[in-house]
Amino acid sequence: MNEVPMLTRFTASTEGRLALIALAVFLVMALLSPDKFLSVQNLTSMAFQFPEFAILALAMTITMLTGGIDLSVVGIANMTAIVAALILTKLTGSGDGWAVLALALSVSVAVGVVAGLFNGILIATLGLPPILATLGSGLIFTGIAIAMTGGSAVMGFPPATAWIGNSTVLGIPTPLIVFALLALGISLLLTRTGFGIKLRMFGANPLAARYAAIDIDAMLLRVYMLSGALAAISGMVVMSRANSAKADYGSSYLLLAVLIAVLGGVNPYGGYGRVIGVVLAVLSMQFLSSGMNMLQVSNFARELIWGTLLILVMIMNTWRAKPRKA
């Protein structure tokens, strides 16, 4: 008697339904190959895998909330990773390199912020549509990454570098911790700060935001700088996990990040989106993907299933809400 309304209330929200989906995917995979999928080995392995693109999805989320998009995240990630890698290889002295690593990390995040600032200036100050501004700047960042290295990989890092991507803290993979902290931070930022509220309101109606005396330009600059910083952090995770940096790492993550954000319920036209939704979408994706690898299903079938999932979730969302579409 009591459970039914609880369940209805739960499924009434986009995020509630996503939680059910993530759970369902987990259960199905666990049932299909219980010994493998539920092994500690596999669970840890999954926790190592998703943070790098999940962080990109966070970056995508905040830009989508303003009705924009950041197609340059992978370019930024690789460019900043190469900057960090060059520092790590050129400056490395004796010892295990913690100091150099700290330097490389800060420089790369700073470079990410500057790259984001460049996007922000294009979008806020010059008024370019975000999709084009970041498409163009993404090519430029990737190009710079290639020009810096001639296309080959940069490697030979001090051992400390492995810490970000390959180690565990109290048994929890470091990348997972990094992602969890970022997700929490972004979630707080979006829901509990003036910046977050303004950003969502701007996404809902840019003109009204101007009339409400919101500091639009400063806000957009900060949004894209933040996105750049997140991309840089993701770049660091990738660099550490690959123990090298190269201009073409993670090229498939761009579309994946967009897909995750949208699956997570973020409205790509701005105004709505929650971090929890994105996290649940990431989990569903990872469960599905690892599970299917265990079952040796073709990777193309995975693409098919993602697409189907996205559309089914959307049909469920509109079908339930049912006010005419916005």
Partner: protein, 495 residues
């Protein structure tokens, strides 16, 4: 009533818990003008949307010429000769004026090919009919609100109609244009066309309508021939109480100068504007359509960068051309088009108010005290009597007048020193209007300077101490509001 053109019987409509219409019955005969009166949120627009086939009623029967209709849709309604001027105009911003005017006519005629000459011809004729001159080929998005409203009216007039529904068609129009429109309504009636008219301007209602229906909270509370009503009784039916208009308290003689505007100039929009605003003063700015009032207001609020000129507030210069600086200095602006400029339609009512307070609100390490912020916003909802059951609902779900109050609340929450209100009671019912006027008076009493831009002459006289009249971008007159009567004012505007 044997063969009424349109009959509604027991129509009920609820929106997720809110009963917008509750068993309303109504009939309209050919050649009759019926007025639908009621406070904000009483269900007028909902009734119209149902007749237009845009919304489906939950219960009730609708009949055209005695024939009961199945579920309606916009095409069926239009085919039955029902033409609507929507409160939000429902125009196509990207299409030309001519296309906007002729579009429904062409669709109705089942045209497959796009015949430009025919469309321009129809548009020209219709515009000529209401006697306004709007270039046919410009995109509607570049027009002023008033021109948009005129285009919306033309669109409804462009086709053969049996019932024309007008949802507050005169909100953005000047006196002259209202005259023309009322003339047209009379002619339509003579041709046997029925008119369903919604307006908060009671004088014009009583002037053209022979039948009045009053809604309150979605229910029909009164109905009868227009001759049975006068402004006062109509008001009483709508609000359930008496509303008295009282002129503003006189301005103390020693009121200090608050804002000084000198030689503010923007080529093509406003020319060398200078005036002063005193603390506690309500300054009216009136003028005909396109006289430059909005441009001036935007220049004051920094939305338009003037070519030259200065604004000083409390002796300190306010940087021009920057809304942030203007807001920082204490200038607030309630824009004229609340749907596109004022509101974040998909966001909650509370957030729409709270957005004004974000920077002023205390925060620890950037984290806002959300509960406090929201309860403050809730307070404002109460103070401005916004009619809503769930403050977390999107602001889109509010009726027009209630939406306007939300925008007002946002600015009032910032405690500005100068508040510029562009059409403060556009689409607001008499009851709330007088409340808003009361609020304006209250603001002035606290020492704020208020600028009211309006061509609702009773409103100007009821709220303002002083009136500036603008003509082609210049201030042509500056006089004490108490020294003039409504007719005198109308005369000065028009001359």
């Amino acid at each position: 009533m044997p063969d009424a053109l349109v009959t509604l019987d027991g129509v009920t409509k609820t929106y997720s818990g809110i009963t917008a219409l509750d068993g309303v019955s109504l009939s309209i005969a050919a050649g009759e003008a019926v007025c639908l009166a009621g406070e904000n949120g009483s269900g007028k627009s909902t009734l119209i949307k149902i007749l237009a086939g845009v919304e489906q009623p939950d219960r009730g029967r609708i009949a055209f010429a005695g024939v009961t209709q199945g579920p309606l849709n916009p095409r069926l309604s239009a085919a039955a000769g029902i033409k609507v001027i929507f409160q939000d105009f429902s125009l196509f911003p990207n299409l030309s004026v001519a296309e906007n005017i002729a579009f429904s006519a062409e669709i109705g005629a089942g045209a497959r090919l796009y015949r430009k000459a025919r469309i321009r011809d129809l548009a020209t004729r219709t515009l000529a009919r209401i006697g306004v001159d709007i270039p046919l080929d410009v995109a509607v998005e570049t027009l002023s609100v008033a021109h948009k409203q005129l285009v919306a009216i033309c669109r409804a007039l462009a086709t053969e109609a049996r019932l024309i529904i007008m949802d507050e068609p005169t909100t953005a129009l000047t006196e002259r244009e209202v005259r023309v429109l009322l003339g047209i309504i009379r002619r339509l009636k003579a041709d046997g066309v029925a008119v369903l008219f919604v307006s908060h301007k009671l004088a014009e209602v009583l002037e053209v309508c022979e039948h009045v229906v009053v809604l309150r909270n979605g229910e029909k509370v009164a109905e009868g021939p227009a001759t049975d009503f006068d402004a006062a009784s109509l008001t009483r039916h709508m609000t359930g109480r008496d509303v008295a208009a009282s002129p503003p308290a006189p301005l103390p003689a020693n009121a200090p100068v608050l804002m000084q505007v000198e030689n503010l100039h923007k080529d093509g929009a406003c020319t060398d504007i200078s005036f002063t605003l005193h603390a506690g003063e309500v300054l009216g700015i009136s003028g005909l359509l396109g006289s430059g009032r909005t441009a001036l207001a935007k220049a004051l609020f920094g939305l338009v960068a003037p070519d030259r000129g200065s604004i000083t507030l409390n002796g300190k210069p306010v940087p021009t051309g920057n809304p942030l600086a203007a807001a920082e200095a204490g200038i607030g602006y309630v824009p004229e088009d609340r749907l596109t400029e004022g509101l974040f339609l998909t966001q909650s009512i509370l957030q729409n108010i709270a957005i004004g307070r974000l920077d002023a609100h205390g925060s620890t390490a950037g984290i806002l005290d959300l509960p406090a912020l929201m309860s403050e916003a809730r307070d404002w909802l109460k103070r401005l009597s916004v009619k809503t059951t769930t403050p977390d609902a999107p602001v889109r779900s509010l009726s027009g007048g209630n939406q306007q109050r939300v925008v007002l609340a946002r600015w009032m929450a910032r405690s500005p020193r100068v508040l510029i209100l562009n059409g403060p009671s556009v689409g607001v019912d008499v009851g709330s209007k007088s409340e808003i006027h009361g609020i304006i008076a209250g603001l002035a009493a606290q020492g704020l300077g208020v600028i009211v831009i309006s061509d609702d002459l009773p409103e100007v006289l009821a709220t303002c101490h002083r009136v500036l009249v603008m003509k082609s971008g210049r201030i042509t007159e500056d006089f004490d509001a108490r020294a003039v009567t409504e007719t005198e004012l109308a005369h000065r505007l028009a001359s």
